[in-house]
């Protein structure tokens, strides 16, 4: 945003510096908008898997743009080439910008080499959402999974990303895990880089 009092006028909009923008957005406004996004998609599909896919696609578009913006704004146009680098970028920078805090934890999967998990006690997008019993394991966090997939794809780390509820003992609400499964080529490249 060009502030009041700045004399320099830009003749071409592309020359204007990228503004930091407002750091805060009303949570209620976002919650209503997201609720409407889910409701709209519900009218267009027949089953839950299709609804999850649509939410993921919506998130993918966000992820691709977020990557470009953050690379320019926060990382000085540097590109991540290592797996751990891009994962910690997603876990810290992306989460901080989108949700106001870093993700709760980043773990490597024990069973498979290509699996990593980002966990969160309660995803911001799910804060006001109660899933009805007849929707089974549907998770609106599919939107966030799509964002992560968009970021990883754009950075050159193709992966399959899904969101799951993991019940915790002693807690009424299950925590959410974003499961990232990298493609073969990513692991091969990572091994080659040493």
């Amino acid at each position: 945003m060009i502030g009041v009092g700045k004399i320099k006028q830009y003749s071409n909009i592309l020359d204007k510096p990228l503004s930091k923008g407002k750091q805060e957005v009303s949570l209620s406004a976002f919650a209503f908008l997201f609720s409407e996004l889910v409701q709209y998609n519900q009218t267009q599909v027949d089953n839950i898997a299709e609804l999850e896919r649509r939410l993921e696609d919506a998130g993918y578009a966000v992820g691709a743009r977020v990557l470009e913006l953050l690379c320019h704004r926060d990382k000085g146009n540097r590109r991540e080439t290592r797996l751990l680098g891009i994962l910690s970028f997603v876990h810290s920078t992306v989460w901080k910008v989108l949700f106001g805090k870093v993700a709760d934890s980043l773990e490597k999967g024990t069973e498979h080499e290509d699996e990593y998990m980002i966990s969160e006690k309660e995803l911001l997008v799910n804060k006001f959402i109660s899933i009805p019993k007849d929707m089974g394991t549907f998770n609106c966090g599919a939107f966030v999974a799509g964002i992560v997939r968009g970021v990883l794809d754009g950075a050159g780390f193709p992966a399959v990303v899904t969101a799951h509820f993991v019940p915790m003992e002693g807690q009424q609400r299950p925590r959410t895990t974003i499961l990232i499964k990298f493609a073969e080529e990513v692991l091969r490249r990572e091994a080659r880089l040493g």
Binding site: E36, V38, Q39, F128, I129, S130, I131
Partner: protein, 141 residues
């Protein structure tokens, strides 16, 4: 000690969308609670006519021998009322808290259809928490 007997939420057309009772007194089955809700809705509407001055916004408090009924009406016509022991304090504040919880966990839920009964897990959890906190505050006085 404060005792809340039950909480009702009615939508703007008078249908009951939420009913919860606490304790063994005043427990009602579904049909009765629906009847009470529509009765209250009609009484509230009649109160507009009965008022000797213009600008009556509805019934806020009903005091009887064995219970008090506090009612809060939102700008959209949704009514929240609580039946409690006579002389219970801070019910207005509690009603406002319930209103806020409703806007948060019911209206922002994409799976809630307007004018339908409230079946939101998060709303129930937070309502119970709010009541427990409320009782602690009242006990401390």
């Amino acid at each position: 000690m404060a005792a809340i007997y039950s909480i009702y939420i009615i939508d703007k057309s008078g249908g009951l969308i939420f009913y919860k009772d606490y304790g063994s007194k005043g427990r009602m089955d579904t049909n009765d609670s629906l009847r009470v809700a529509s009765l209250w809705h009609s009484m509230d509407a009649i109160s507009h006519q009965l008022s000797p001055t213009t600008g009556c916004s509805g019934i806020e408090l009903l005091e009887a021998d064995t219970f008090d009924l506090h009612c809060f009406q939102s700008l959209t016509g949704t009514k929240f009322f609580v039946v409690c022991e006579p002389g219970t304090q801070c019910m207005d504040a509690l009603l406002k808290v319930i209103y806020e919880l409703c806007t948060d966990y019911v209206l922002k839920n994409p799976f809630y259809e307007m004018e339908m009964p409230i079946r939101c897990e998060l709303f129930d959890i937070n309502l119970t928490q709010a009541l427990l906190k409320d009782r602690v505050v009242l006990l401390g006085r």
